[in-house]
Symmetry: C2
Subunit: 160 residues, 2 copies
Amino acid sequence: MTPKAIQDYYPEPYAHCYGCGRLNEHGLQIKSYVQGDEVVAVFRPEPYHIAIPGFVYGGLIASLIDCHSIATAAAAAHHARGSDMDQGPPLRFVTAALRVDFLRPSPLGATLHLKARAKEVKGRKVVVDATLSVEGEVCAQAEVVAVEIPEEMQIREQAT
Amino acid sequence: MTPKAIQDYYPEPYAHCYGCGRLNEHGLQIKSYVQGDEVVAVFRPEPYHIAIPGFVYGGLIASLIDCHSIATAAAAAHHARGSDMDQGPPLRFVTAALRVDFLRPSPLGATLHLKARAKEVKGRKVVVDATLSVEGEVCAQAEVVAVEIPEEMQIREQAT
């Protein structure tokens, strides 16, 4: 497993994301690590991350899958181009489509385990398959279409 | 527009949801209202609900769409059965599938407008189409498959 999380390679302007920004003190601060040909993460929900009593909020699950898959896309794109994440310019992706199937309710009070893998890397687009499991059971499976940050968002970002 | 939000009809055990529970002080407390044959809601993100600087976090958008669509499903199911939401037993749905296409980035600092409509009501399943717009432009469109809360979740809920 890589010792440094993928999100910790994001340069400062991209490190404020509510889901995975190390600089967002209100956020979830998800950390995703390359492990072989997969990317893994764990997350422990707070008691208030509730849907109905006893179960994890689906919007949190979607959020975790989103950021984890975007990190997976960045790592896969670097790998495909033969570049290292710590050698600039770093690649940063955004979500074009998020599809989550909730297979069974995720119990609150346990650690959530995320796994993801890029199944397609083509130009500026990466398609990622992801799962979220609790105690060995897959509770959600997802497909995320990630695209490299479009120019208009980079311009806006630089203007901030 | 109905004067009372759909979520305010949810009985107390179902009013703790992080996205829309009136009793979750840490949550988003989304309120969805029936307006003609649509269901509408507005939400003003906090500055920390950020993706990259200047834009709203996609996981928040997915969360808002999720809860808003679940409320839409409840209202549609009551309507289809000719029952009122304030006359028990109330119907409560969970998300089976969430599909969000992010058409364009949603700027931070503006009000998000949600609209949803049930396009299929069949047995315990309701399929909802939803959009999220900012300043008149649709930024995300979604399809949500909602199902009435399954028995095992009700049992777990009663045991809490």
